[in-house]
């Protein structure tokens, strides 16, 4: 049991917190609207080597663990970086497993993205990084495909709530990189990694939303004193740190489980999913749990933070609305969290059935 980041992860955190603060943040996020892609910041990100971080060392990548990537994704969320870091990282890792991750992808000059849901009629719909990625990996039938390169992906951007780089992608002429049950399983693993890293992004968004709310209530005066001195305002904010830290811990646990579940691309330690005694180390379950919990933490934190901003929170001028819209976009882009919950519950083991005469035990 150790809840500290490793020394290396501490360094990663410091480096990327500084990077995202300097190269992204609310001003840049505004400038990157409505597409949600900052090409200049991505150019700078290439210099850090971040795009190849997640791929294996054997393939020429950085060999970072899911836990390491979680640290970066959280900082990206905290500064609402308009960059497809998460999608690129999980997609390079997926392509790596089918030996289809090329040098451009590793360098980040070819941005790759992931279609989360199977294609319908040859179209991968609402791909989260579809308006930023040059190439998108999708499931089409029982095949894992890589679509034809798109030079100007932002042309296909779909205007949306959170200014995410959403686009539909036409899979006509796509290259088949794998097929069959193994391909589907690899894609499912990539989507679980996306869940985990998106949860981390949401945790970062939630943390910043709390900070913005606290700063505002200390600055804004009504009735002759800061509104942050009123208990009714304080208590709306006081519920949030536990909610956000809890989601952060669950996300870190999911990443830890994901790193244990595969070692060098092979099956690692099997997880446990015993909800009846609250023992859960299964990656697939934890990834779903983390996304639901982080989505709720981010939507709640941005909701309360916006509310204590009063009318200014609703205005475009203040930053909280940027966080508010991105929290919802990332929490819902994979689908209804209630459906995610039902999917999770369907993985639970058959309950132990007590004999009705067993009484209270």
């Amino acid at each position: 049991m150790d809840l500290n980041l490793t020394k290396d992860q501490e360094t990663i955190r410091e480096v990327f917190a500084a990077f995202f603060e300097g190269e992204t943040g609310p001003i840049r996020a505004r400038a990157a609207e409505p597409v949600g892609m900052d090409a200049a910041a991505w150019e700078r990100l290439l210099e850090t080597g971040a795009p190849s971080m997640g791929a294996s060392e054997a393939a020429g990548g950085g060999g970072a663990s899911l836990a390491d990537l979680t640290v970066v994704a959280t900082e990206a969320g905290a500064f609402i970086a308009p960059l497809p870091f998460v999608d690129h990282a999980v997609t390079t890792r997926l392509l790596d497993t089918v030996n289809a991750c090329d040098d451009g992808m590793l360098a980040g000059t070819t941005i790759v993205g992931l279609a989360l849901c199977p294609a319908i009629d040859g179209i991968a719909r609402t791909v989260p990084s579809g308006a930023a990625a040059h190439r998108v990996v999708a499931i089409d039938g029982n095949r894992l495909v890589l679509d034809r390169p798109v030079d100007n992906p932002s042309a296909g951007h779909l205007a949306n709530h959170g200014c995410l780089p959403l686009a539909h992608r036409d899979l006509t002429g796509a290259e088949v990189v794998a097929s069959g049950p193994d391909a589907l399983a690899k894609h499912a693993r990539a989507v679980d990694e996306w869940r985990t890293l998106t949860a981390a992004t949401l945790v970062g968004i939630a943390r910043s939303a709390v900070d913005l709310g606290v700063a505002y209530v200390m600055e804004r005066k009504q009735f002759g004193r800061p509104i942050g001195s009123f208990q009714a305002v304080q208590h709306q904010l006081a519920d949030l740190p536990g909610l956000v830290d809890g989601a952060g811990l669950l996300t870190s646990k999911a990443a830890w489980a994901g790193d244990r579940a595969t070692v060098d691309g092979l099956a690692g330690e099997p997880g446990v999913l015993d909800v009846d005694s609250n023992d859960v180390t299964d990656f697939v379950a934890l990834a779903a749990m983390a996304l639901v919990a982080a989505g709720e933490a981010a939507t709640t934190a941005t909701d309360r933070s916006l509310h204590v901003h009063g009318g200014y929170g609703f205005s475009e001028e203040y930053d909280i609305q940027l966080y508010y819209r991105r929290a919802r976009a990332l929490a819902y882009v994979l689908g209804d969290p209630a459906r995610e919950c039902r999917r999770l519950a369907s993985m639970f083991p058959t309950p132990f059935v007590y004999a009705s005469e067993a009484g209270a035990t």
């Binding site: 049991m1 150790d2 809840l3 500290n4 980041l5 836990a67 709390v210 606290v214 209530v217 200390m218 800061p226 942050g228 001195s229 009123f230 208990q231 304080q234 208590h235 904010l237 006081a238 519920d239 740190p241 536990g242 909610l243 830290d245 809890g246 989601a247 811990l249 669950l250 870190s252 646990k253 830890w256 489980a257 909800v275 009846d276 005694s277 609250n278 859960v280 180390t281 934890l286 749990m289 639901v292 919990a293 209630a338 919950c341 039902r342 999770l344 519950a345 369907s346 639970f348 058959t350 309950p351 132990f352 059935v353 007590y354 009705s356 067993a358 009484g359 209270a360 035990t361």
Partner: protein, 386 residues
């Protein structure tokens, strides 16, 4: 980060689970619910004899707070009587930290044997959250003290051998600075216990202190330094000693019930869409509650004082528990109203039980409002608001 408990802690957890499989009998659980006394001496003695109790004292023995957390978490998840035991072990921790040699040599072994237990004499009829304002007086008389006053919510007082008593020894200084803590035998003349029945099956008490004479040796900590002793007790308590995973047995019993309850369209209600969603949300909240609690234990294990983290765990866990109870109470309808041992009771009566018990969890051990004040002031840096 590493979320595995480690070999040693896992071994300890298995020991606790094996113990529970053998000793947590239907009789023990039924006795607990029929008497409303969530403390069972025979069960406690068995725990002590299995060597599981000595390590349960915070700051004493060779177990770390992670193992302390494991012990109480396993007891809570299993639905075992542990409320009284948690208080006793908490007091044992305080005795170990600030007690005299005499306390450590005489009281501690009794508490650790499971044969002796302790109750908390903090709250009074007029002072709950504003605890430092309590008025029970202790006046020095030579080598003795004379205590007069009344305490409220002294749960287990009718069974306990000891009460840890917060008293006012100096009314002329700011309220936090005139308090002194005592550890008083419950058979001292002048102590009277009156039951306070509750809407749940658990019983609590009011206790009355009329000219209670105790030796100065009963004092815990320095004169007028009782607030610091309270601080130690709270730091031990928060998060680590149960109370943050109450929805685990509820979920287990609800799932069991759902799996044997036919759905109108065939199959069972376990696969009802709303049941799937709510069981999943409960399982998620249970994981988060566990992690927030484990963080508090881990901070304590690595030498910190997890006061704030304990507040966060309690706030989250208790609000979620109440929400879970509301969901399942609604979904179970009439059968959910039926009590333990009743024919047709949903979840074997646990929904009724948790429906009665859950309201107190956002009140006792520090109300939601006090915990929010704590987080607002000490974590978010907002001004004091009262």
């Amino acid at each position: 980060m590493d979320f595995s408990l480690g070999d040693r802690a896992e071994f300890f957890r298995d020991e606790v689970r094996n113990f529970l499989a053998e000793h947590l009998t239907t009789e023990v659980v039924e006795r607990m619910h029929s008497t409303g006394t969530f403390d069972d001496k025979d069960f406690n003695v068995a725990l002590a004899e299995a060597g599981l109790l000595a390590g349960a004292v915070p700051g004493y023995g060779d177990r770390d707070p992670i193992e302390l957390y494991i012990l109480f978490n396993e007891l809570e998840k299993a639905g075992a009587p542990y409320d009284g035991l948690a208080v006793t072990m908490l007091v044992a921790g305080v005795v170990n930290a600030v007690g005299t040699d005499l306390h450590r040599d005489t009281v501690l072994p009794q508490l650790l044997s499971g044969r002796s237990s302790c109750c908390l004499g903090y709250s009074e009829p007029d002072y709950g959250s504003d605890l430092a304002a309590i008025t029970t007086r202790a006046v020095r008389d030579g080598d003795e003290w004379i205590i007069d006053g009344q305490k409220m919510w002294t749960t287990m007082a009718h069974e306990a051998e000891w009460v840890i008593l917060l008293t006012r020894t100096n009314p002329d200084v700011p309220k936090h600075k005139g308090l002194t803590m005592f550890l008083v035998p419950m058979d001292t003349p002048g102590i009277e216990v009156q039951p306070v029945p509750t809407m749940a099956s658990e019983r609590t008490n009011a206790t009355f202190y009329d000219g209670v004479r105790v030796d100065d040796g009963c004092r815990l900590g320095e004169v007028d330094d009782g607030w610091a002793v309270m601080g130690i007790a709270l730091a031990f308590e928060r998060g680590v000693m149960g109370g943050t995973n109450p929805a685990v047995p509820l979920l287990r019993h609800v799932r069991s019930w759902a799996a044997k309850t036919p759905a109108p369209d065939g199959g069972t209600i376990l696969n009802d869409p709303l049941m799937l969603e709510r069981t999943a949300r409960t399982a998620i909240a249970n994981q988060v509650s566990q992690l927030l609690t484990l963080r508090a234990a881990w901070i304590a294990a690595t030498g910190g004082l997890p006061g704030l983290e304990g507040s966060m765990a309690k706030l989250y866990a208790t609000e979620r528990y109440q929400q879970t109870v509301r969901w399942f109470q609604q979904m179970a309808g009439a059968e959910g109203l039926l009590s333990f041992g009743t024919d047709g009771a949903a979840a074997d009566g646990w929904i009724d039980y948790d429906g009665r018990h859950s309201p107190v969890t956002t009140i006792y051990g520090g109300t939601t409002e006090i915990n929010r004040n704590n987080v607002a002031e000490r974590h978010l840096g907002l001004p004091r608001s009262r």
